[in-house]
């Protein structure tokens, strides 16, 4: 079996606070993995560790390994720009840059030294088509990205992540600020994305995790309580704490 991400004995501290405790998890290539758990359980922290976003947090200390394609991303020789190109991130609230739709998509490729207009045009069209946004915005590519709807902005952010040809897409509650129809579009998109990418999604929406993921990890107090096929987790979880959480008996 081919594992894209292999987290080994990961421990993470914010100052004295032990936020992730001995996390071990292997994530298959071209799959969708959902991280679920109550607020403060460590799921977003774990997600952000996969492209070293936590490096930006003061007093954050990390022990253990995260292997992407068998290479430890916490190795001192890791190029962070390239790492974040490989593992793109989509956040809870759509965060388009205050610039045109076109420039939002072209931003990443330009940073990675692509200047040719024809190539950039192709990247912009391909990325927007990948998130089913091209037909909706093709006539206003030079208009501000802030002028489109929230759902469109979130798909634009996904397209922006895709523009630099990542291998892994990390999504931190990508639909929590969206209306139901926009949510369905993102969920359909995730299903399509896994053909070419490995998707890891943090969600508070249990039904969403059940609908779109292949595997689910349940986090509690910095530990992974259970990690299994989503069907198993939502039909017959092994650990009572998992069942209590997903059935609403928690807390």
């Amino acid at each position: 079996m081919s594992f894209k991400v292999d987290i080994q004995n990961l421990n993470l501290y914010y100052g004295d606070f032990h936020a992730l405790k001995d996390i071990n998890i292997k994530i298959r290539k071209n799959s969708v993995t959902a991280f679920i758990g109550p607020s403060g359980c460590g799921k977003s922290t774990c997600l952000k560790s996969i492209n070293r976003m936590n490096d930006l947090v003061p007093n954050c200390k990390i022990k253990g390994k995260i292997l992407i394609d068998n290479q430890n991303i916490y190795d001192s020789r890791t190029n962070l720009n390239l790492l974040r190109k490989r593992a793109g991130m989509v956040f809870q609230r759509p965060n388009p840059f205050p610039m045109s739709i076109y420039d939002n998509i072209a931003y990443g490729p330009r940073i990675h030294k692509i200047k040719n207009k024809k190539i950039l045009d192709e990247i912009v069209e391909k990325s927007l088509r990948s998130v089913y946004l091209w037909d909706e915005v093709k006539d206003r590519l030079n208009k501000s990205a802030l002028g489109i709807s929230g759902g469109q902005q979130q798909r634009l952010c996904i397209a922006r992540a895709l523009a630099v040809e990542p291998q892994i897409i990390l999504m931190d509650e990508p639909t929590s600020a969206l209306d139901p129809l926009s949510t369905i579009k993102i969920e359909d998109l995730v299903e399509m994305l896994k053909v070419n990418y490995t998707v890891i999604i943090v969600t508070h929406n249990m039904q969403q995790a059940a609908r779109i993921s292949d595997t689910t990890a349940f986090f509690l107090s910095g530990n992974i309580v259970e990690y299994a096929n989503t069907s198993k987790i939502f039909n017959n979880p092994t650990d009572k704490r998992t069942e209590d959480y997903i059935t609403g008996r928690f807390g």
Binding site: M206, Q207, N235, N236, P237, E243, I246, T247, G248, R249
Partner: protein, 216 residues
């Protein structure tokens, strides 16, 4: 904590249990009708079937509402699904009691009919099986459910004996064939009730273990 949801689940189990208790009385009354051949009581049982049907429909509606509005998962979903399936079996058991009473109303059976005691015996065994499965449902007891499924073999043997004996009676004296044939039908309904009890036991096992074994 989803208190409203948990209360709805508790209410659902209580309603299924109430339906079960109502059918428990129906089986007991049916056994008495076989013993006494009381046609008035037989008619009452037939009329009371509509009450069981209404209970089934109300529980069905509750289950579908819980699924649509509360989106149960894992053990909760199994419980709702199990209840939905179990009430179908309970309702069919009541139907078979009605079938037995309809036979008794038109039959020329007498208390002296050959093999009638054997038929009462199979019905009493089936009644005990139903009572046990109802307790297993309320107590969510998997071991008892497995044991109940095994009782079905005994009921099958009792039915075979009745069939054999009645064939013997008919072959010796063909003047009173119809009452004996009626007894075969009643015994067959008893055997079917046992099958439904086994189905209920299998659903209890599913609700508790996520496994749905074929134990019948």
């Amino acid at each position: 904590m989803r208190n409203t949801f948990l209360k709805k689940l508790d209410d659902l189990v209580k309603k299924v249990s109430d339906m079960g208790n109502t059918v428990d009385s129906v089986i007991l009354d049916t056994i008495n009708v076989i013993k006494t051949l009381d046609s008035n009581k037989a008619s009452e049982i037939i009329e009371s079937d509509s009450i069981i049907n209404r209970m089934e429909h109300e529980i069905e509606r509750d289950c579908l509402n819980i699924i649509a509005l509360q989106q149960p998962i894992a053990g909760d979903l199994r419980n709702v699904t199990g209840c939905l399936k179990i009430i179908t079996d309970i309702e069919r058991i009541a139907d078979h009691c009605t079938d037995i009473c309809e036979i008794l109303l038109s039959s020329k059976l007498s208390k002296e009919s050959a093999c009638i005691n054997q038929v009462i015996n199979i019905m009493e065994n089936v009644y005990s099986m139903f009572k046990s499965v109802l307790i297993a449902f309320i107590s969510k007891n998997v071991d008892d459910s497995v044991s109940i499924c095994k009782l079905d073999d005994k009921i099958d043997l009792l039915f075979s004996d009745i069939l054999l004996n009645i064939c013997g009676v008919i072959s010796k004296d063909s003047s009173e064939v119809m009452p004996e044939v009626d007894l075969i039908f009643i015994a067959k309904y008893a055997e079917r009730i046992a099958d439904h009890c086994t189905n209920i036991a299998e659903w209890i096992i599913y609700m508790e273990t996520n496994q749905h074994p074929e134990l019948n």
